[in-house]
Symmetry: C2
Subunit: 210 residues, 2 copies
């Protein structure tokens, strides 16, 4: 049992619901309906209930969901009950931005090491981290129990860096380079493409002209 396949879109939305709920909680709101959540994040109420139903029964019929409880449940489902240590390769502008990115901290992510193979960058400081040579990654991965790595290097270098990160013991990669990485089956990869969404906008605007 529990062989039920969960759509990745459901996980994506769960992450969005979870953060929306935290904002409600901050405002002192204690109860929400699926309709409230739906309106807040721009999906249908049925969608919200269906997404939650994959994981259990969290609401009360006739009443709705307790905000604090639902935050706890969504955080648990997403694997965020415990904090995660991350390492990152690439000490460029994007890398620097990610190290100080507030949203990561808020969700329990902590970048514990920044690496680069550019000698001019090694030794530099980004926030309170010293940029380290790649050779030191395996040690840090082991010491800080790191399972996830962020790739913030140019496309050309991304595959080589991915190989090194995997050899260092990482099981999951968040890749900001706009290329498709080849990795062993046990390694999870997700790409964040900063340019694709922009091109969806240009596509839509270009259509308007006609």
């Amino acid at each position: 049992m529990k062989a039920l396949k969960i759509p990745e879109a459901t996980i994506t939305r769960l992450s969005i619901y979870s953060r929306f709920l935290k904002r409600l909680d901050k405002k002192g709101i204690t109860t929400v309906s699926s309709g409230d959540i739906a309106e807040g994040v721009g999906v249908s109420p049925a969608q919200v209930r269906k997404d939650l139903a994959y994981f259990g029964e969290f609401g009360t019929r006739g009443v709705g969901y307790n905000v604090k409880d639902l935050i706890r449940y969504t955080v648990k489902i997403l694997g965020l009950s415990e904090p995660w240590n991350l390492v990152m390769v690439g000490a460029g502008n994007l890398g620097s931005a990610l190290v100080t990115y507030r949203e990561f901290k808020d969700r329990g992510f902590s970048i514990v090491g920044v690496f680069d193979n550019d000698l001019t960058k090694i030794g530099k400081r980004i926030a309170d981290l010293e940029v380290l040579p790649l050779e030191e990654m395996p040690e840090m991965v082991k010491e800080y129990n790191v399972r996830i790595g962020i790739i913030a290097v140019p496309s050309k270098a991304a595959q080589d860096i991915a190989d090194i990160m995997i050899k260092s013991g990482l099981e999951a990669l968040l890749n900001f380079a706009p290329i498709s990485l080849n990795v062993p089956d046990y390694v999870e990869v997700r790409n964040v493409d900063l340019s694709v969404k922009l091109e969806i906008l240009t596509f839509n605007l270009a259509l308007r002209e006609k």
Copy 2:
């Protein structure tokens, strides 16, 4: 006719194909099959052909696609034949990274103005741009024919900034704040959420434990 609805996933992939093809072109490769593209970006060959079929017949049976031609077609479809000027609000770390982001330039995007309402940031320089007060946005939007704006401010400020950007004449927003924006129907919005993909990774890793 031509009322055929095109899936947004198709546009997303087209953007990815387009950039993959440019890399092939740089390597001097002149012809590709749908299978080559599929393998290069991690989808099925049928998917590639179907995606292209929404827009025309670009290949030669028994041969494949001419790389340079297909680049031209995909670029045209995505509305990227002409360069786009962008404005951005938010001169923080993320904003700074985006101004210098190579991938944007490569695809014909140019950030022509950076704005902030933080007095300590106004007047500062990011790359070769001076950070300007929001009041100057309408003028710049008009002068540079800007239609798309980037939101790189904290979540709290995002809705207010979006309202101002729309009033300044923008028709499309690329939103890096992890909240759902309320905008008029004619305004296109896409969110880039840096944290969601990371939470898909933690979800998957957390599943492994069991």
